[in-house]
Each structure stands twice: as C-alpha cells, then as structure tokens.
Amino acid sequence: MSTARAGSRERILSRVARATAGRERTLHPGCLGTPVAADPVAEFVKRFTGQGGEVVEGEGTQSAAVWLTGFLRGLDKEVTGVAVGADVPAELRPQLPVVAAAHAGAGISVAWAAVAETGSLILPSTGTRAVQLLPPVHIVWVPEGRVFARLEEALRELPDELPATVGLHSAPSKSADIGQTVVTGVHGPGRCIAVLA
C-alpha cells in the first residue's frame, strides 16, 4: 500500500525528472575493488578483535556445548539463564535454562557468515533479534568455511529471498557521547564473541 498526500508522489517524481533533465547522465562505475586478504580467517580475527570483539577458534560442534558451558561459568557475573536463537542447533546449546532475552545473561546466535575486511558477523533476523541484542554477552557461532574475504562478496551471496532484516555486528555496543570517552555495552551487548567452527 502506498499513500501520497495530494499527489506528492507525482509532484516529487516530476520535479526530480525536471531537475535532472538537462544534466549529463553518468554511468555507474561498477564495483569497488577492495584488497583481498590472503588469509580471510586471520584477517577477520584481526579486524573483529581490533574493534573490541573477541574470537574463539577451533571449537568443533562436538566440543562446543562443553566449551560454552565452561565459558559461561567462568563469567564474572553468574549466568543463570541464556537466550538461544531460533536457528541454533541442539548441539550448540549450553546446559543452562533458556530464558527470555531481556533476562538472559548471554545470547547464543548462529551467523549466516562472517566478513574478513570489516570484521563483521552477518546475522539474519530469523535468528531472533532479541537474542542478538538484549543480553549483555552475545556469543555467535560462525559455521565452518563461512568467512568471506570481502563485504561485497558476502552481500552478493546473500540469499535471493532476504530475511526481513540482516544485521552486521562488528563490535560490542559502543558510545563516545559522554565526554568523548568510549564506553561499551550502552544498548546492545557489551561483549561479542565469535566462535569459529
């Protein structure tokens, strides 16, 4: 459905057409060739940690749940419940009670992929947004072989049927709005941990 007050749509479009009528119509320059990292995984680790994210490497799915339970026990603030994304497979779920995201000590998600050049995790909204955003700690599984060297490749490879929202998380939540001092965990998670399978 579209609403247009008193023909505003037509008015705007015709004004745009008129404004650009005499102007030379230039071409799209094509793609921007950004450098390709030789080792995308290493580059991802460098970028993601450089922005304040944390990376755990080499945890296969078998040992993952065990690692996760141990990790959650080790946190300063005791985690009594976790929020788990809709698409997280059973073997990646920790042995802790599952609670609503707003009350969870940690959120567990699965990324669609990661991007090396920007140090980003690509998270579809079907993985349940509240899990990705509300808990103070966000743990993200990156499936094996899913690290793209460049953001453009990753965007090109997104499924044709896009989820309602795709989130790129490249760091914990940050702000420098108070006296130009960086604080983390303002609104979103204060810690973001990528687990590379």
């Binding site: 071409l27 309602a164 929202t165 006296g179």
Partner: protein, 463 residues
C-alpha cells in the same frame, strides 16, 4: 524548522567570547575524529574509494526518478508501506497518522538529522505521543532541550562534567559517576523504553533500489533495537539517499565509517527489507518508509549545488573544519552546520534564509580533502557567494570596496599612487582609509606597511 542562521556572526562571536568550554570540547572531539579519519584513509586507497563513491552517487542522482520508482516497487513487494512527503508538514502529518492508526502511545527514536530538519518530535508530542531519543548523545540533548551541535556526535559540545550534573539531576545518578556509570544510568531508562515502545522511528543512511533495503549505520545498538522491538517501524529517508545496488553498500558502509569515525565499519549495520514475516523473526509487524523531499529537488535542480546531495552525513567535513571547531554547530542556527551546512542550507532553505553561511569560511579546503564523496565545498561556497553578490545580499560597503579595488588594480598608475599613499600613512592611516578594518583591528594589531614599497626598492636597485 525555524532557523537562526541569519544571526550566525553574532552567535558565533558570543559563543567564542562567553562559552570557552564549548570551544574546548568541540575542538578536542573534532580533532580526535579527524585524526582517526586521516589514519583510516591512509590504510586504504582512499583516493580511489572516494572517486568511486562520487561516481556512484552522481550516477544515482542523474537517474534518481528511475531509482526512486524502483525502490518503491521493491519496498512494496517486501510488504513495506511507502509514503511520499513533499515538505516537512507532510512528513510530520504522515508520521502522526501512522502513529494514530497504529494506536501508538510511545515512540523510541534513533538519531536522524532528517527528523530534526522536519521538527518531528514536537509534532508527535502535540498529539500526545511520548517520544524518547535513544542515541546517547541525542538523549542528553533531549533532556537539555537543545538541538544537536554535530550531525554525527550531537553532544560533542558537552563535557563529562556537564553530563554528570545533568544525569545526577534528572536520573539520580552519582554526582561523580564515571562515563560507564552514566551510560548505565541512561541504559536503564532507555532499555525499558525499547521494550515498551509501540513505534520505532529512524532515518536511513541508504536506500537500495534493487532490493528495497534501508541501511542504517550506528555504534550503540540503539537503532537495531529501535527497528526490532516496537510493533511499528517508520524510516524517514531523504530522496537523495538512494543507491542502485546491494553490492554498492559494501563500499559505502566502509567509506562512511572510515570518514566518520575512522572505523572499518559501524559496530552495527541494519539492512532492513520489511516487516517480520518469517518464522523465528521477532521484528516489527509494520514497516513504513517515508520518502522526503523538503527542498531536495530544489537543490537537485541547481546547476552546481546539486553535488551537495551526494552527502552521506558522515560529519568528516565538520571535524576537519577549523571554523566549525571554534563554535560547534549551534551558532549556525540550523540542523546542518559546518561546511556541508554552509553549502546545503542555501539550497534547501533559499539563499536569503541561509545568509551569511556561504561567507562563514576561510576557504581553507580541509573539508574537501575529508569528504568521502568529494563534494567541492569550497567551490560551492564561492558559487553561493557569487549568487549572494548578484542578488545584492552583501553589504554595499563591501561591494563598493571590491569594485574600487578592481578599478585601481586595472590602472597601474593609480595603483602605484595608492600604494605610496598607504606606505606614507602607516598602519593606522591605512586603517582609517579602509573603514571595514575597524573590527579587524579590535582583535589584532594593525599591520605596518613597509616603509618603502617593493616597487620603490626595485627602482632603487636590489643588491
């Protein structure tokens, strides 16, 4: 939005003389941003990136009607409701109607300069909707009742102590809280608001035509929350924000972040296609995109100023600007301040309304070097100055003096005579001869002319 642009000179002077702490905060913050931007540019082939981005935007702006209709089509196919607003009043009306239809009582907002431009908050409050800014900087300013001072860091003119006092007073936080404790106090209030709000309002950094994707960049996560938790999401997007392809985002997301804060990419990016319909998605039921003109087609029609529509609102030109740094944004009297404000405002509002901003620049060129889309800001400032001269918007004394200079300078005999008289009169005499120098001389010692002009030295012989 009512502007106070015409008062620029007086307000800038006042800010410099009576608010030294603003100058200090703004200078510190912008220099730090600018340093990060420079480092981030050196890390990549910034020259090539900027030329690419300029070309993509030029292509888009010269095919804008096509891309707007394509975007509309895609958005609607995605289940988004598209609205067109010719001006600020229409945009406000559209948003309040959406709120009304959706029985909205409270709204949370992500930082959006466009919503400042159209004065959205007062309009929502007037129909009884409680609106909360959720970007930490905007939240601080909302508590203070102040407009943003910088398009990226709206509260960079505030010191830690000022925020401490404010939060102690309004949120009951400790009077000596560190930034972490203060952020925690704000988070507490805002987290609750996110969970209970009916409506989330944001701007849009980009709108991808081929997929109907609204892209939003941020660091705090408040925009992700604003677009995820409430039932209704409304994105207000300027019609110049289009990009043709999804893959274009790859370059633009990176370039914008590098220009704005020196980061490789914003901590969070939301790529929004539409309302939540797939299983597992807990996002909004309704998504609206409001395409706003409000003067943009006037800018687009201008033979030179249209280039300012490439602007990504990254704030890099403000950070690089030594003029902006002395006062912050408030002196400019409008939401778009600094170099980009000085070239955009005359186009959006009319030159008369935006005077004297085209003259509020030493033309040092630092803004152009910083701008990720290579907007030729110094050239556009000169263009607006020429139009101001043509329209008689500058003081007659100034016009007369410059006409006089040209007359003298094209008559070598007269020129030499004037020079000799100046030299004989000395500093104060010369100042008396040029009444415009009065103000100058109040803050600077007047220069002493050489005892003999070079021309005289030359004639006598230089050894």
């Amino acid at each position: 939005m009512r502007t106070r642009i015409n008062e620029y000179t007086a307000r800038a002077t006042q800010a410099i003389r009576s608010e030294p702490e603003v100058r200090e905060s703004v200078t510190g913050a912008t220099l730090a941003f600018d340093r990060k931007r420079r480092d981030a540019y050196t890390e990549v082939d910034a020259d090539e990136w900027r030329r690419w981005a300029e070309a993509v935007k030029n292509h888009t702006l010269t095919h804008l009607d096509d891309y707007l209709t394509q975007a509309e089509e895609r958005l609607e196919a995605n289940g988004v409701q598209v609205h067109w607003a010719a001006d600020a009043a229409e945009a406000r009306d559209i948003v309040t109607t959406i709120a009304d239809d959706g029985l909205v009582a409270t709204a949370v907002k992500g930082k959006s300069m466009l919503t400042e431009e159209i004065d959205l908050n007062p309009a929502l409050e007037a129909v009884g909707i409680e609106v909360l800014e959720t970007d930490l900087g905007e939240y601080i300013l909302q508590l203070l009742g102040e407009p943003p001072s910088h398009i990226l860091g709206p509260a960079i003119h505030k010191s830690l102590q000022q925020v401490r006092d404010l939060f102690a007073d309004r949120l009951g936080s400790a009077p000596d809280g560190d930034p972490d404790a203060l952020a925690e106090a704000a988070r507490h209030v805002l987290r609750d608001a996110f969970i209970h709000a009916d409506m989330g309002i944001t701007g849009g950094n980009f709108l991808v035509a081929e997929t109907g994707t609204v892209a939003l960049i941020e660091n705090e996560g408040n925009i992700r929350l604003t677009t995820s938790l409430p039932r209704v999401h409304v994105a207000l997007v300027g019609i110049e924000k289009l990009l043709p392809r999804m893959t274009d985002l790859a370059g633009f997301l990176q370039l914008t972040a590098r220009a704005a804060t020196g980061q490789p990419i914003g901590c969070f990016v939301s790529l929004i296609q539409g309302p939540a319909t797939q299983p597992g998605d807990d996002g909004p039921e309704e998504v609206h995109v409001v395409l706003v003109d409000n003067g943009r087609t006037d800018v687009l029609a201008h033979p030179h100023a249209w280039e300012a529509l490439r602007c990504l609102r990254c704030g890099a030109c403000l950070n690089a600007c030594p003029v902006y740094r002395q006062t912050g944004g408030h002196a400019y009297g409008y939401v778009y301040s600094g170099p980009i404000g000085s070239v955009l405002d005359p186009g959006l509002l009319g030159l008369h309304e935006a005077m004297p901003l085209p003259f509020a620049s030493s033309l040092c060129g630092a803004c152009f070097d910083a701008c990720p889309v290579r907007i030729p800001i110094p050239e556009l400032l000169l263009e607006w100055r020429r139009e101001a001269q043509d329209q008689g918007l500058t003081p007659w004394k100034e016009r007369a003096a410059l006409a006089g200079l040209a007359s003298v300078a094209t008559r070598p005999g007269l020129y030499k005579l004037a020079g000799r008289i100046g030299a004989r009169l000395g500093g104060t005499g010369a100042a008396r001869a040029l009444p415009m120098l009065g103000e100058w001389a109040r803050e600077r010692a007047l220069p002493k002319p050489s005892r003999r002009t070079f021309r005289e030295l030359w004639r006598e012989g230089i050894e």
